[in-house]
Symmetry: C2
């Protein structure tokens, strides 16, 4: 496992490159995106501290399924050769179960995002994203640093920038206040109540207060 | 591995049940769905011949992440105890790599559906679904049997039933004709050209002609 440092705007990996590493975000924000032949870009992931990307490296001879680019200031990533992971699985099959759980979690998260695009309002989707970032905070309130441009967040959440602004405005009623890259959540519980009523994972989600 | 037979409308497994089996569809159609506390249902998957569901059984002590119900006439499913798969991985780690590839494919498919909800028109999304079913057809034309009610397909594709009907109408211009549960595709190539221009996987998708 090697530490690597990247600057804002730097490309970590390219869609279609041979996938030989898994990446773990230590610090900063990474945007995972793809482009269609007719020129539309979509943001398929937005990773921060503790998130892993490049999971297609776990399949033999696979290529990366997206482009990864730093969207915060300096970022620190750990780069793990896929062959080390494969060797670990070979030596101790308990590793396989860890990796399988990680991939299942990824499937569940992606399915949830897909589902939320039809069951949740845009303000609820933004709220759900914030709840994930509040995880690990002690106490009911939280202060979040999101040093990522608004249009990147909006694209990840499947909204136009103006819808994003309106949604942020709506969250004021449940105690969310934005000031530049800093967001304060007065009560994680109040935000959960507002968001999770429209989510099928309610009751079994670790982001819920 | 045991064969099991189910009738239309029968429940295969329930959201939240302890996940102890993987399921492989041999014949028929299975809808995977979830419900939110405020009463919205979403269709997170629609599986047919060759598709696997219940993948959360691969994680230790996991529960199923959706409800599975037969939406065609009689269906035949193979039921595989997760502990057999775990034992196989333990005995021969090459199994782990097969399973990892399967899960990565599932992540890729789900991400793609999420992406397509913003890059594709509803007619293109329906067309993409049909292209997947055409896979394995020899020749450029194909006849598909989809014995599933329109509102189920529409829900899976994230559309209202009336949007689904309009989208099917639009696909006539590229040679798709519907007659009851039967759909004919005059040219898979023509359908691909219409659909895949708006997909980031274009060029590396096995459903593309």
């Amino acid at each position: 496992m090697r530490q690597k440092y990247f600057a804002h705007g730097e490309t970590v990996l390219r869609h279609g490159d041979r996938a030989q590493h898994l990446w773990l975000v230590r610090r900063g924000w990474v945007k995972l995106s793809r482009q269609t032949p007719d020129g539309k870009e979509t943001t398929v992931g937005l990773c921060t501290e503790g998130d892993v990307f490049g999971e297609s490296a776990l399949s033999a001879d696979a290529s990366y399924a997206y482009h990864a680019e730093i969207v915060s200031g300096e970022a620190e990533l750990a780069c793990i050769p896929a062959k080390n992971v494969q060797a670990a699985i070979h030596d101790d099959p308990r590793w396989a179960s860890t990796i399988l759980s990680m991939l299942n979690e990824r499937i569940a998260q992606t399915q949830l995002r897909l589902e939320q695009s039809s069951t949740m309002s845009t303000a609820q989707r933004l709220g759900c994203f914030l709840l994930r970032l509040c995880r690990g905070e002690t106490g009911d309130g939280a202060t979040l640093q999101i040093p990522v441009e608004k249009h990147v967040l909006a694209s990840y959440l499947g909204m136009k920038p103006e819808t994003f602004s309106r949604s942020l405005q709506q969250l004021k009623t449940v105690g969310v206040e934005a000031q530049g890259a800093q967001l304060s959540v007065a009560s994680v519980r109040a935000l959960s109540e507002y968001v999770c009523i429209s989510c099928s994972q309610s009751g079994s989600c670790q982001n819920e207060a």
